[in-house]
Each structure stands twice: as C-alpha cells, then as structure tokens.
Symmetry: D2
C-alpha cells in the first residue's frame, strides 16, 4: 500500500488541483478537494474537468491498490448537481475484477452528502508491480 501512496503523492496534476488522497485499501480509495476559485468555470460552478480529476484520482488509487499497475481505458461520468463551494469527496469502490480488467464506481458527494457526479471507470490490469519511489 505504501508504494501506491508514494506513486500518488508524485501526481503533479492532482497536487496542482488541490486534490488529496485520503485513504487507500484493497479495492477502495477516497480523495477530497476543497473548492477554490481556480476550480470554477465561466459561470462560477466547479468545472467538469475538476470533478473528473477528483474522481479519476480516487479511481486510479483504487485500481492500483492490489500492488500491480492498472491503467484507465474508459470512463463514463454523469453530472448530477452543480456545486460552487465546500469540500467534495470522491469514494471509489471496486465493482468487479478479473485478471485483465477492473471496474470501479466513484461517487462524488458534497458536504451534505448529496451526489454531485457518478463515475464508472474501467482499467486494464498489467502484470507490472506498482513502482517504489
């Protein structure tokens, strides 16, 4: 698990976006992002790309949690609710796994627990171990 944490601490786009990894365990991960002015789009709500990046980060951590590298193939995201402030949480859970593929669902919720977006990610599972720093 240590190696996964290290790998995700080296993620520069997550850091640039103010996203933090909260926890990782086999098949699960949580990340969070406090909404800042830099996350907003031209109409003052959190940009879809910022929501995606938050969910994708939790998905990547969960899909790499078994100690071997997994790379995203495809994601479908549905936006349910616009938000413009507060702290958002992304919780990723493994839905199914086989030797080659892993499927994950990530829910982004706001502070009241309302669903902001739902994300379904599919990862290709390589044989290579997650690298240590």
């Amino acid at each position: 698990m240590h190696a996964v944490h290290q790998m995700f601490q080296r993620d520069q786009y997550a850091r640039h976006s103010g996203i933090e990894l909260e926890s990782v365990e086999p098949g699960k991960a949580r990340a969070r992002m406090s909404v800042l002015p830099c996350h907003l789009n031209g109409v003052g709500t959190v940009q879809g790309g910022a929501l995606f990046t938050l969910a994708d980060f939790a998905f990547a951590a969960a899909s790499n949690s078994h100690g071997t590298i997994a790379v995203a193939i495809n994601v479908s995201i549905t936006f349910m609710k616009a938000v413009s402030s507060g702290t958002l949480t992304a919780a990723a859970e493994e839905v199914a796994i086989n030797p080659r593929l892993g499927a994950y669902t990530v829910r982004i919720t706001d502070e009241s627990g309302a669903l902001v977006a739902i994300f379904q990610g599919l990862a290709y599972r390589k044989k290579d171990p997650v690298p240590h720093a």
Copy 2:
C-alpha cells in the same frame, strides 16, 4: 460568438491548467494544451484528468456555440495512447442536436496527429442565452 469567447475566457480551471480556446464556430470548437510538468501523473504521463479537462473545454465551447446555454450531462472518454510532452489539440464536433439535447465527439490528438483520447459528450440545452460579461 463573442459571448461564448468571453464566457470561456472566464473559465478559471482551464486557465489554471494552461488550456487555450483556439476557435469556436457553430457546432465546433478547438482547444489546445502544451504539456507542462503540472499535467503529469505519478508515472510521468499526462494525467487523465488533464486530458479530460482539455476535451471537456472544447465540448463546452462547441455546445454553447449556438448562443444558448448547454450543460454537460454525461461524458464517456476512452484513453488510447499515453503522452508525456508536446502540444495536444482537442477538436469538438457536433454529432446530433435536438431542442433538448446535443451530442458531441471530441478527438484529442498529439503533434503527429495520433489519437490520444476520444470523448463523447452529451449536453442538456437550456433556453437561456449565453451571458455577456
């Protein structure tokens, strides 16, 4: 078209991510992003969230290009090729439109023209005009 350009110049997450709107015309838009260290993930390739943000920005510009507000409902993105440098271009094209929904395909290509990701976006079309600054 002017109002759309203004709205997208106010997009702070795009600016924070170094993404520029290249062109907008009815049903089409192009955006570009030169890969910087802040776009990389823990294994040194452009993070999926940065690719999504680039494509989503072109999608948003294209779907708002008819003068009324359109909001993203759902996106499916497939990652075809990892990249770690150069300038990436996202080209959005309208696939179909009706009074309520618009469907768009966005292709992200690298400098050699190779497809990096393909993005299919669905927007809900409101009646409200795109606001002027």
Copy 3:
C-alpha cells in the same frame, strides 16, 4: 406499481427475447433471462445485445417505478465475462435522482453470482404518469 408492471408486460422485444420482470419496487427492479440458442452470437456466447436488453429492461422498470415516465438518455455498459448457458439476472438500483434526471446501476450476474456485465443508465424524467393499460 401495477401500471409499471402492465407497461412492461406489453414490452414485445423483452418477450421476444425471453426476458421476464421479476420484481419492481421504488427505485429498484430485477429481471431474468434463461440463455437459449436464440441469444447466442457467432462464437457461441450470449450476444452483447441480449445482455444489454436484459439490463435495459431492469433499468427501464426501475426508472419508471416512481409512477412517472422516464426515458433512457444514455447508457454505458462494460462486459466482464462471456457466458453461454444458465439463467442470468439483472438487478437495477437507483444511484441518484433529481426532478429531471435519474441514474441507475444494473449488475448482470450468472447463477454462480459472478458479474457478467455492469450497466450505468441515465434517464430523463418526464412529468407524465406511467399509463394504465
């Protein structure tokens, strides 16, 4: 609930495909299909279209379970495991709902409980009531 059951008993493509509605309750539905020769593709496994139809039927029942009409906008389906016999079950659950949209996840499992496909559906919620026969 009665009206929903009636509406789904009139679904001719589901009947043509040997799909039965097992149960409907608010936000949930289950359907099942026993694999027959007519469901197979050219390599002898259940065709993706048959799996989709089974999942979509459960999704439609769940999304119409609140008494007003809901129509599918977009679906993403991931195929995890090929199957060629036995009885398949699709269980649809509401993930999120607002006045305009409903999001559902449907899991198709085989008799051993293994995940065959996962389906994420988005429905547009109209104001019209589900019609009685």
Copy 4:
C-alpha cells in the same frame, strides 16, 4: 472478409431480431433492421435493446474486419430520437486502433437520415484469427 461474413451469419440473436449485415470492409460495417412489432417496447417505440443490438452488430463486424478476433469491452450509447416504424441503418466506423484496442463510432439513422442513436464501442483485439466455418 469471407470469414467475418460467415461468423456473423451464425449470429442467432441478430437473426432472431431481424438484423442483416449489409456490408463489411476493413474498419467499417453497415447493418439494417426493418422495424417489426417484435421490436417495440410497452409504449410502442423501438426498444433500446433492439437499437443497441443493431448498432452492436455493426460494431462487432467492423471490429472483426481486420481478420483477428475483437471482443467488446465497453459501449456508451445515447438515444436521440424515438422511432416506431421504417428501416433503420447502423453504420460503424473505426475511430482509432492500436495493437490492443479498437474504438468505433456507430450511427443509427432512420429512413430520413435523422440520427436515432449514437454508439461508441471499445473492443479488445486478440491475436486469434477470425474462425472459418
């Protein structure tokens, strides 16, 4: 190409659904379906599963058109317009291909050329040749 045609003629669910393969060439395929009572849902329009099956059949033919087996991993389909009669055509085109993955877009149109649904399919490309009968 001969082997692909044979494989798709053995597809029993397509035949059961009245779907015919019109043409296959490298990276492309077309299929068609004349709407029959058996394709309708409980509100009298073509069921989403029938539309999916039509598109999926064209996708499968296009993705197997290079002579090696390709299997569907993930599909996203967006429904643009309800239809209840006439002949529907699905045209699949390859969007991108690499040694492991192929991405395809399928457009379903009605007799007037209006877009009924748009389908984006991702296939995993095996090394095995498409089998001869």
